[in-house]
Symmetry: D2
Subunit: 412 residues, 4 copies
């Protein structure tokens, strides 16, 4: 191979023990390139940052480009970065060709020779540069208007891989561990309880993303307590969770199964539909609480405590309830508006909503995803939600243990 197309890239920080340098070297080889380490100043002790300057060689401009694209999200930037390039959108609701595709990691742009932070960081978006310059933010393609200035290419962009809090003691173990149910559960419970307490103590919000199995397995009252106690501050769910929660309040059943006796009740299969119909007749969940017709459960506590919620619609919904946002784009925007201030996210028993919220969250927000199905946890982590800790467990018993742990540590 004659590898005569060359670029120099640089990296700074804990690049050896954080895996970033090895990943970059591996990526160069993987894409068929060659490297020459021109400078390596290794932090002798673990607190010292390191610096490396690498010459990358490739056999063609395409190959070089492929390598640079691959190493970019690991924080390797060309030695002499120019300003970023933004072009005017030529089509509404779509990015220009060659648009820069965002990750959920903190990202910076070089504008006027200065590196500035991109706001509203979200994966799979484009970056809109403020017309006056000096600011930039992530935007989904549907919100692009003709003339918007959108970043194209990687020039003048850099990703700051997350400060790995895991580095100290569990990085490799975590990476090496496939998703398994055979882990000590009390530890996970304790860690989530701790994260929830810490988040609240820091004045940040705990977001819960819940599927209907939370209610089916009998967890409604437990979650209702967490809302009442201010330990859940934002709720994202669907029509089913809210419906079955209120079905329990009205009929004592969930999808017709008695939560006291565990067996289907007569006409039980109709309960959820009658619940929806009743709420539609009343005019909504809030109206039902105000009129005294709904007096227990998760949705009741949300209304009483003014805990904001988004019920996002789906095609499997019956009804739906009046508060359900049936348009998926509107629902995504409603969720985006509630994300600022969220410091921790607990997802339980929902694939659809977990992945949807995982798409919206910046990497800095830690997530715990609890599902009895390992495939759900795998799917979430497969899609790049690297900040997620996956726990394979059963909804109600897990939440029960979590509530007990939060009780135990109250005031601690």
């Amino acid at each position: 191979m004659s590898a005569s197309f060359v670029e120099h890239v640089e990296m700074t920080g804990h690049i050896v023990d954080s895996l970033l340098l090895p990943k970059v070297l591996d990526a160069i080889l993987s894409r068929g390139g060659q490297y020459h380490i021109e400078t390596l100043r290794l932090g002798e002790k673990q607190d010292d940052p390191s610096f490396v300057r690498i010459e990358v060689r490739a056999a063609s401009p395409q190959q070089l480009e492929a390598i640079l694209a691959e190493v970019h999200p690991h924080g390797a930037v060309p030695s002499q970065a120019a300003d970023c390039v933004a072009v005017a959108a030529d089509v509404g609701g779509a990015f220009p060709d060659g648009f820069y595709c965002s990750t959920n990691f903190r990202t910076q742009l070089k504008l006027g020779g200065e590196w500035i932070d991109v706001e509203d960081q979200e994966m799979d978006c484009g970056i809109l540069v403020d017309p006056e310059g000096g600011a930039a933010r992530c935007v989904p393609m549907t919100s692009v208007r003709v003339g918007d200035r959108i970043v194209v290419g990687r020039t003048g962009t850099r990703v700051l891989p997350p400060e790995s809090e895991m580095r100290k003691h569990e990085l490799f173990e975590f990476m090496a561990s496939p998703v398994s149910s055979e882990r000590p559960k009390a530890v996970s419970v304790r860690e989530i309880a701790h994260a929830m307490r810490k988040t609240r103590a820091a004045g940040e919000k705990v977001l819960a993303v819940l599927g209907p199995a939370v209610v089916h397995t009998g967890g409604s009252e437990l979650v209702a307590r967490l809302v009442r106690d201010g330990l859940i501050n934002v709720l994202f769910a669907g029509n089913a969770l809210a419906t079955h929660d209120m079905e329990q309040a009205f009929y004592g059943t969930s999808l017709g199964v008695s939560l006291d006796q565990g067996i289907p009740t007569h006409e039980g299969h109709e309960h959820h539909l009658r619940t929806i119909n009743t709420i539609r007749r009343i005019g909504g969940i809030r109206a039902a609480v105000e009129q005294g017709k709904l007096s227990s459960g998760i949705m009741y506590e949300c209304v009483k405590s003014s805990t904001p919620f988004v019920l996002a619609g789906s095609i499997r919904d019956d009804g739906p309830l009046p508060e359900v946002v049936t348009d998926s784009l509107v629902a995504q925007d409603a969720m985006r508006r509630l994300l600022p201030g969220v410091g921790f996210c607990l997802m339980v028993a929902t694939t659809l909503h977990s992945i949807a919220v995982g798409n919206l969250l910046p990497a800095a927000v830690k997530v715990a995803c609890v599902d009895i199905n390992p495939a759900t946890v795998t799917k979430l982590m497969d899609r790049g939600s690297t900040q997620t800790v996956g726990i394979v467990s059963d909804a109600e018993p897990f939440i029960r243990a979590l509530v007990a742990e939060l009780d135990r540590t109250r005031g601690a």
Copy 2:
């Protein structure tokens, strides 16, 4: 117990070997009632219909009502049925209190002393009676307008439990078999191929409901062939299936994973977003085909063969593609419009869309649901889709075997 509240119910047909009579007797006991079999004319041979008249006794009117509600969907109707009762809807977008809640079984109303069939049979709906009388159909609650005449109570309604095609040889085995992957797969393949051929021969349509794992596992070309060969006639899917199918056409990857080599490609995670953006810039899938920019895959074949499809939106969508129906109610209606004429439905690798379509289909349409996750199949069958055969298998290898079987039996 003094059981002095009494009603008489009757049943006709293959009520013993079809399990209907035992189910009714069990239901009476289960709800705490008592029965007295007043008349039983048992078909002596298996081709003879039977007739039974049962006295049902309960301790309270509520208990009696509970029993009658329970036995109703098994085809037990009061001996002297009056005309059904319909009242005018008092609130738009909701049924009157006490509305009759539909099943997906064939249902009849007594109107003017005559039993008539309910049209557009669909579970979890109400029944709208034509203002001029003489006709009735299922309607979802969202479509109710003030003044619509909606059936309330069970009076004058009867359910005709499905003609069980399974009765002859597999009824109990089927019921007794939990959902398991440990079944001979070639048999399932053969039966689905047979059902597809038979459906087409009868001039009916085969509906495919597909999740993105069909593409991720490498099944795009196989499904494309089935569309091209006229063996799939309607397609219901989401943004992800269509996106990854076209991502494969454009980049050879699915969610960035090379379908030739099985490993992630550089920048591959961006491919699906670039695919969506490209299609949005072009103006849609149809435009992409017409302009020669899309020339292979499932969506291409649908456009070329004018096979109708509905792409229903969800909150986990990126983009979405221009053809995606982002409002869930509009998407449900779009699917409803394509259901008439469907004789067989093949669902592969999607929980969301399978349950959504299961909600819409009348019980007469046979369904095969293939998913590698037994919980998906269980969930579908748990929700009352009794016409469904669940098969726990892997998308691409299963479809590959299905295509081979359809090839083998071509012209047979």
Copy 3:
């Protein structure tokens, strides 16, 4: 079809609402036969037994035989039963050709014109008739000696299908319910706790069959308490459960994962092997307790309370521990010896041992099988363990809730 081969069969009891008659009629049709109901005396009320006499016709002797074989386990016996036929075993360790294959339902033989109960009822065995007559018991094929009198054919045998305790309120629901995690868990916990208390109150034993995930998920101390409190009276497990339980006692880890911190410890992967080696050096678990070297955990409590246990070997064992029975036939016999007096069986997180024990238990012993993997529960129920209630849940949180419920109801 000319169906000129005829037999008459009779059934007595709750044959309609228990499903037995419909099953028999269906079986006749399924195998291509015809039936004529000659006599049907239906219990008019639910407490009355019914009686039916059915003429069965088939086109060939083989078909007739097939039908009679199929209806036999549903309690349908020929009208004029002769004495059973037993022949001398001609080969050691094997049954004679045509041997009667046992179920786990209560079974009777006609000997000298009298129906007698078969002892040691166990599925997939033969029936050995006492040389002096008057008694019979199930035996596995490996224990057959030349000359043993073994029952052949179905003549003079009858099965008494189980008194269905479920009949009253949940028969159909239970049958119709596929194995799902989406059930209210507190109800299952309550029912198992109730069954354990009731079993103990009746002077019967509770058998626990446990897999190592009980320890991995953190449940060792909880199970140890149940042993100490006399709520578990027999333990069946394997080398792994005992090893990891003692690994926790010695090192605080399970398979090297710290049960306090949830992360792998240094050299942790060696802990289980060092545990086994230590116990082998000491001479066994009992010796370790006696010498004060093992002082907590499940195995410790078993030794202290003289709770009998069988540790059955498997090919995936390291070591194994001295108490492990490495020969599978010897282990099966060791388990058989501890079964008399067992009134309830709780299986948690083990496919291998659950199925093994399911094979040995008579149908009269109720079983609750808890596993996070629905396939395990399905597999157990697929193999005919009809007395089993399957619960899809996570080991430690489920056991934690069970212990809390048993505490709550202590003395109640």
Copy 4:
């Protein structure tokens, strides 16, 4: 922290891009130590080996020991290694205290100043040093006799981490990918076919480890062909696989389910027991083939082609067949004897046997594990079988595709 306990370790090779150096640095930090990189000669290009000498400091001798234990399997050895230490076993069937616990990676001992290879490499064993010196091999604890010289401690031992064949293009992707069914299956099929062909071409053996679901799903004939064609050269399985394979040959069923029609046959539940009894009466599988009584299926082809097999017993076995090795230690030894010469191992649909064989195989033997249950694959990889590629797919359709691919590439 005053960290005054010090050791120097060295590493040589592709220690940066293979992750070994970062892992070692991370391990030092994780266990609370400090490092000082005294020498780092980095291979400037990717073909050059690197060398590093690291000063490790810890606060206590215990901590230092913990760190050295942790970095040992990554190939970090003390700068001045002494000869290994072996002591005489004081107890039969157990190692001396402090025994060196083996991995499945290639390992060397320093004996008389020379590094020699350990033979029979197997994880979770001890190392027996030849009495005359100059040779050493792994031994399980049960085979230790009093006086055997067994290595204790890590002094004079070193692990050579595997030559990573994955490094070039997939290392990180592979590590980052949780076990998922959503992968292109044709690629996995192609790679396994290629590995089988390559293994045979190299004169090495292909080992198949199969569970009964291979037969239940209909794969018997396909596997039989692979045996007949010499593409499977050793078979490890259990009583169930062999029984159901022969049940199919005798009755056309598997666990009583017709493989042609997919439904249970009359008396089908007895077929497997009658099969076992028949074979026991004949005297074994080989006798059945020789007497012409068994003439198709996997076991038939094994006998005809003299393909060696081990049928290992388990406590869930009925019968078992005469060839089944009921003692687990004897079965493990029987498997060990057939491992030399095995170059590739295909595991399908068995958790028990897969993990058992994974315990025995050295890391140099590549393994593909196919199971429809992601938890099985996860469990195998969780136990350190790093050479394993896990594929979540369905047994029969996957094997069908594999046979088709092997046909396609015959002679290629």
